[in-house]
């Protein structure tokens, strides 16, 4: 029985030989950071035919086209959701998030603190940020406009730009995240507030476009993986073991738990008209109606899902371990 508490960078850096009991005995190389340390340089992604069927982590629609990102620097584009083409990008790190500011400008981010930028609607991508030594992945991106964007990530990582990504500055998050917990998601609410959800129930909001952040008391000690705007100033937060909370006023910190009827963790979500659709472990799909009632579905492959986007009417595309999967929701109630 293995049991341990993962998450914090502190743990990761100290959790060591204790674990070495079972199968392997490994001499931990002493040369870390020494002369033998190999040079790391970004390498272009490889175009592989099965990319639409391999691990994809986020999907968005922009200017009539669909974009999904995933493993090994994958960015794929489709006009109809069925036929996908992969775009070569200058990095091979696994990409976790993609966000567009307008029809032309957008960013994709992922591991090795990689941030890619496009200014031609996703046709070509340039690498704006690549810091493998940081050992912190970008986990979510928020594009405010063509100049302003914020990236959040593991171990309290927050990067922001005010010049279209020419420079990405590290934002000090210790104020609301003293334990360097993962910042799993960032979203802009209808009233303009920014909201961050993270590890171990971490919640924080900013009323000034991310200049300052206020930590919020959490209704749940488990991790949140995402946040969606809800109503005029509310939000929906979702996370570990099927926990979903809603608030009509996100600043107030008053959250209501929804009865989801599942213990599958939810990793991604999107607004679909009046409804919110969440996806997660074991292909679980939750459709949250405006009144807070929840309908449960399961994607065919049954593998973890990470992102979702509406296509037309009741059809959604979910991405995850088995790539892109189409799912038909029941008609709007």
């Amino acid at each position: 029985m293995h049991k341990n508490k993962p998450g914090r960078a502190f743990w990761r850096r100290t959790l060591l030989a204790l674990l070495l009991g079972s199968g392997v005995s490994l001499a931990l190389a002493q040369d870390e950071g020494g002369a033998g340390k190999p040079l790391i340089k970004p390498r272009p992604s490889e175009i592989l035919p099965l990319t639409p069927k391999s691990l994809l982590l986020d999907i968005v629609r922009n200017d009539g086209r669909l974009f999904a990102v995933g493993e090994r620097g994958a960015i794929i584009v489709s006009a109809n959701g069925r036929d996908w083409a992969q775009v070569q990008v200058p990095v091979r790190a696994t990409l976790t998030a993609i966000a567009f500011a307008d029809a032309r400008n957008g960013w994709a981010g992922g591991h090795d603190a990689s941030i890619l930028h496009t200014s031609d609607g996703g046709r070509s991508w340039t690498l704006q940020n690549f810091k493998p030594d940081l050992e912190k992945p970008v986990l979510d991106l928020l594009a405010l406009d063509a100049q302003h964007a914020i990236a959040v990530g593991a171990y309290g990582l927050m990067l922001s730009t005010a010049d279209g990504g020419q420079t990405w500055n590290e934002v000090d998050t210790l104020g609301f995240d003293p334990d360097e917990l993962h910042l799993n998601a960032i979203a802009k609410l209808a009233n303009g507030d920014l909201f961050v959800a993270g590890e171990q129930g971490l919640l924080a909001y900013s009323t000034d476009q991310g200049q300052t952040w206020t930590k919020q008391e959490s209704p749940y000690e488990g991790s949140f993986f995402g946040v969606l705007p809800r109503g005029a100033s509310g939000a929906l937060i979702y996370g570990l073991r099927g926990n979903v909370y809603v608030s009509e006023d996100a600043r107030s910190g008053k959250w209501t738990a929804l009865d989801t009827g599942t213990v599958d963790s939810m990793f991604g979500g999107a607004q679909l008209g009046e409804r919110d659709v969440l996806v997660g472990l074991n292909g679980a799909i939750l459709v949250v109606a405006a009144d807070g009632s929840v309908q449960r579905l399961r994607a065919e492959a049954g593998t973890p899902l990470s992102g979702i986007v509406g296509v037309n009417g009741n059809e959604v595309l979910a991405v995850g371990e088995s790539g892109v999967q189409g799912v038909k929701l029941s008609a709007h109630p």
């Binding site: 029985m1 293995h2 049991k3 341990n4 508490k5 993962p6 998450g7 990761r12 850096r13 959790l15 060591l16 674990l19 070495l20 009991g21 079972s22 199968g23 392997v24 005995s25 490994l26 001499a27 931990l28 190389a29 870390e32 190999p38 040079l39 790391i40 340089k41 390498r43 490889e46 592989l48 035919p49 391999s54 691990l55 982590l57 493993e71 090994r72 696994t94 976790t96 591991h111 090795d112 493998p132 050992e135 992945p137 986990l139 993962h182 799993n184 000690e221 488990g222 991790s223 993986f225 570990l240 073991r241 963790s265 990793f267 472990l281 074991n282 973890p304 990470s306 995850g320 371990e321």
Partner: protein, 946 residues
């Protein structure tokens, strides 16, 4: 031409040799015959003791580089000799989570574990401790065995097991896709590591049928009891129990019972199946809801052996048909049976000699005796035919006719057989043991044919009583003249116009064959095992497993080689991860499994199962964390993490799929190394190639040592470790191994990961395919070179080579085209046949050419010469071709697919060679041979030129 002068000198020498041998056969023929009969009886006695000898190792090209990789990592990653047992619920019987199924699965796992020959460290099902699950809970994750230690057959635990199977991601692998079946994986050890004894596949196959299939699928159980006292065992004592109803085949079984008087280690008493009776009782473990599916090399061997009886029946059928046709042909039963006696004797000699040389008969070589039979019949018919000719045309008596026939055919016949011997022996150049055995087998058979057809046959013919010579001659003349119009028609082939047409058609066919033969598949061209019928139980089992499980029966393993402890290095693991992606993106690949793949799963699990953390961590400590839960028993990594196995599961094992995987791997190695050198300037191609060679040498030295120790253990049972250490040769080999290790250790700089091909059952196929592909043409050419030399030695004239070899070559190439059309792949089993069948063709050619050339030299005009040839030897060729063709055609109804395939191929080869010899050969020869100019008034004479 100097040939005539040369030829006449040769003539007398040949005659002198013949005259010197003649007395050995004819002077004391009763004594000679008696010796032969005694020898035959002795060899027959040897033959009945011959053991079947199947082996996995001998069917693979051990010297191929892939197989060196396989041997080097055998201990860590296993071999390719797997046995998969799937228990699947019958339709409508629900899923596996119920008491009955799980009990059967546990029993089956235990039975497989204890089956002799099974590598116990490699038995794996949801009931074995190496199959685990991990689950995310708040603040961490937990894991354990899929079947909890305190499992009890209650609904609660069924739900727990179902949940654990899901969490562990075992659906599709250990549990069927729709959860109505479960799989047990196991591997066989070909050589017992303790005793050094070789695995008895027949026993393993029988064990699988009894303990796994019968045990759960047969409602009845059989208790075997001794009928009469045997040694210390009393009548009525139980000698064994089983679950398979053998029917009349029980007599062929045997039971081993522990000697009640003997102490520890006493040899068991063998009880024959004829000595037992049995009681039928209800089988307590019978589970009517499930079906058992078993696949693996051992099962194929077992099924082929089961079909042996049928193969033998087909041989007998072929023999009987040959006899009937011969009878019709010569019009005398006495004469018809002689070639058959000689042929059967040759096969007896073949098996007897094989046994004397300490070899067994491989089930996959059961067609070789038939080839021997075929060649022997061909020569026998020629002999009897010529003998009858001597009697009818030259009015001789039995003895003189025999002697005259011997003088005429001994040289040509022996040379033709020698040609076959050379051809067969050269096939032994292929470095795959099973082919070498076939070559040896066939060579012995051919040698036996020389004795039976050139010594036994002449003697037997001297004793044939033809009754009233005049009546016999008349009868034969009458029979003969029936076909005269046909022969006269065919004799037109030597006229210029038909000859040119024949040659043009031949050339066109040759071109067509070259074009069509391009599509010839190396290896298997369809799913399933090609030795067995597509609808055989084995292939149905295989299809059922492939249908119900995502991970099928075809596994290609690639070994990722790097420095010790490298699996904690991101830059190393990343290369393997990327290789995984390239493999997954290869057409024909169903899925992959590797340490990086598993590490990504674990890393994600550590991060609350978030898919965004399904990556390899750059941080070394995190990487340690990610790989620690994966034990070496998973078969994904070796103890010091210097080698990882990448499992590539393929959709099928067709040659095209294998080629793609091999090509991709090779290309990836090159590209990956190039990238690596860019960021690691301290190493280069040369350094890393040397390092790899040093690594391979370590493996080779160790394999050599192990092999030797194995041999010692086999020679001396219970040899102690200290005794082994004291052995001089062991010490020397140990020293070599240590030196190799030291040399490898001196290469201390990291090189790019080397993706070494290959292990796994499909990896073995890839190696075999490559070897067959590399050698098929060269071997054919070498065989042809051998045949050309022999043909030249028979005639000492180049015309003979051109006339005989061109039709032969045409047929060989046409055979490739025919294989392409019939979908028969070029593989270990078919490669020798194509080459061997060339040997049968050459017999026809030599007989036809010899007579034609003799007649022309005697002054006959071409057309008359060929007419004479057709009457003397040509008709025997036609008869043989048709007879053998009809004989093998019966194989099309065989229960073994490869016998059917061989049947088709041989029907073609026998008849096509026959047409080649009587239609194309004379057409070509007509332009090369000039009949002797007759002086005015000189009559043409027909006599052998030597």
């Amino acid at each position: 031409m100097t040939e005539n002068a040369h030829g006449s000198a040769e003539l007398t020498r040949t005659q002198r040799i013949l005259r010197a041998i003649e007395p050995l056969i004819y002077a004391r023929r009763t004594l000679t015959m008696a010796i032969l009969v005694v020898a035959t009886l002795l060899l027959a006695w040897q033959m009945v003791q011959i053991r079947r000898d199947a082996g996995f190792d001998k069917s693979i090209p051990l010297e191929h580089p892939y197989m060196q990789v396989l041997k080097q990592y055998m201990a860590e990653f296993g071999g390719a000799n797997t046995v998969l047992v799937a228990l699947i619920q019958k339709d409508g019987k629900g899923d596996i989570y119920n008491e009955k199924f799980l009990r059967s699965l546990k029993q089956a796992t235990d039975e497989l574990f204890f089956l002799p020959g099974v590598d116990r460290s490699r038995v794996s099902s949801i009931f074995t401790p190496d199959v685990r699950y991990i689950e995310v809970v708040e603040g961490g994750f937990s894991g354990g065995n899929v079947i909890p230690a305190d499992y009890a057959p209650t609904q609660h635990y069924f739900d727990v097991v179902r949940a654990n199977v899901g969490k562990g991601g075992h659906v599709g692998r250990y549990v069927a896709k729709n959860q109505d079946g479960a799989m047990i994986y196991s591997e066989l050890l070909e050589v017992d590591p303790v005793t050094g004894e070789k695995l008895d596949y027949e026993k393993v196959a029988r064990g699988l049928e009894e303990k796994l299939r019968g045990h759960f699928m047969n409602p009845k159980k059989y208790i075997y009891k001794l009928k009469k006292d045997q040694g210390p065992l009393k009548a009525g004592s139980v000698v064994g129990e089983g679950y398979v109803d053998y029917g009349w085949k029980l007599a062929l079984q045997s039971f081993e019972v522990a000697d009640p008087k003997g102490g520890e280690g006493a040899p068991p008493i063998k009880v024959s199946g004829t000595q037992v009776s049995y009681d039928t009782v209800d089988n307590p473990d019978y589970n009517p809801d499930l079906s058992v599916h078993i696949v693996g090399f051992a099962k194929v061997v077992g099924d082929v052996i089961d079909a042996t009886m049928q193969v033998v029946l087909f041989f007998l059928l072929t023999l009987v048909m040959t006899l009937i046709l011969l009878w019709l042909y010569v019009g005398s039963f006495k004469l018809a049976i002689l070639p058959l006696i000689c042929s059967v004797t040759a096969v007896i000699w073949e098996f007897g000699l094989l046994r004397l040389m300490g070899k067994g008969l491989d089930p996959f070589a059961i067609l070789v005796p038939f080839l021997i039979l075929a060649v022997s019949v061909s020569h026998g018919v020629q002999y009897v035919n010529a003998w009858v000719g001597e009697i009818t045309m030259n009015r001789r008596n039995s003895f003189d006719a025999s002697l005259e026939t011997w003088r005429r055919l001994a040289i040509y016949g022996t040379m033709a057989i020698m040609t076959d011997v050379v051809g067969f022996a050269l096939i032994g150049l292929i470095p795959i043991d099973i082919i070498r055995e076939m070559a040896l087998n066939a060579t012995l058979g051919m040698a036996a044919i020389i004795i039976t057809n050139k010594v036994m046959m002449p003697i037997m013919l001297t004793w044939v009583d033809i009754g009233d010579p005049v009546a016999f001659q008349d009868k034969q003349d009458k029979r003969d003249s029936v076909f005269d119009p046909l022969w006269r028609l065919i004799s037109n082939m030597v006229s210029p116009k038909p000859a040119i047409v024949a040659i043009l058609i031949g050339a066109a066919l040759f071109g067509w064959s070259l074009w069509k033969g391009e599509g010839l598949q190396v290896g298997d061209s369809q799913a399933g095992v090609p030795e067995l019928l597509p609808d055989s139980r084995f292939n149905q089992d295989m299809a059922a497993i492939n249908r119900n499980f995502t991970i099928g029966t075809d596994i290609f393993k690639i070994v990722a080689e790097m420095d010790a402890d490298s699996c904690v290095r991101y830059d190393m693991m990343e290369q393997i991860d990327r290789f995984d992606a390239h493999m997954e993106n290869t057409v024909g690949v169903q899925g992959i499994l590797s340490l990086p793949w598993a590490a990504k799963q674990v890393n994600s699990a550590f991060s609350e199962a978030s898919p965004k953390f399904r990556v390899l961590p750059r941080n070394q400590q995190v990487m340690v964390q990610a790989i620690t839960p994966i034990p070496t028993s998973s078969g994904l990594l070796n103890a010091n993490c210097s080698a990882l196995a990448v499992f590539v599961f393929t959709k099928d094992h067709t040659a095209a799929t294998l080629e793609r995987i091999v090509e991709k791997t090779k290309a990836f190695n090159v590209d990956n190394a190039k990238e690596f050198y860019e960021t690691h300037p301290d190493v280069n191609d040369k350094y890393c190639a040397d390092k790899l060679q040093a690594r391979r040498d370590v493996g080779a030295a160790r394999v050599k040592l192990d092999k030797y120790v194995e041999k010692l253990k086999k020679q001396k049972h219970g040899i102690g470790e200290s005794e082994l250490q004291a052995d001089k040769a062991v010490q020397a080999l140990q020293k070599d191994a240590d030196a190799a290790k030291e040399k490898f250790a001196s290469f201390d700089k990291a090189c790019p990961v080397n993706f070494a091909l290959a292990t796994g059952n499909v990896g073995v196929m890839a190696a075999t395919n490559e070897e067959v592909h590399r050698l098929e043409r060269p071997i054919l050419y070498i065989v042809y070179a051998g045949i050309i030399v022999c043909v030249f030695l028979s005639f000492f004239e180049w015309q003979s080579i051109v006339s005989i070899m061109l039709p032969l070559a045409l047929v060989s190439f046409m055979a490739y085209a025919v294989m392409t059309i019939l979908g028969i792949g070029m593989k270990v089993a078919t490669l020798p046949v194509v080459a061997l069948a060339a040997g049968i063709g050459v017999d026809y050619g030599i007989y036809v050419y010899a007579t034609l050339a003799d007649a022309a030299a005697g002054g006959f005009k071409m057309r008359d010469a060929y007419f004479k040839t057709l009457k003397l030897t040509g008709k025997a060729v036609v008869f043989t071709g048709i007879t053998l063709g009809i004989g093998v055609a019966t194989w099309l109804w065989s229960g073994l697919q490869f016998q059917r395939d061989m049947g088709k191929l041989l029907v073609f080869m026998f008849t096509a060679n026959m047409f080649g010899a009587i239609l194309l050969l004379p057409a070509i020869a007509s332009f090369l041979i000039k009949p002797k100019e007759l002086a005015p008034g000189e009559e043409p004479v027909f006599k052998p030129r030597h």
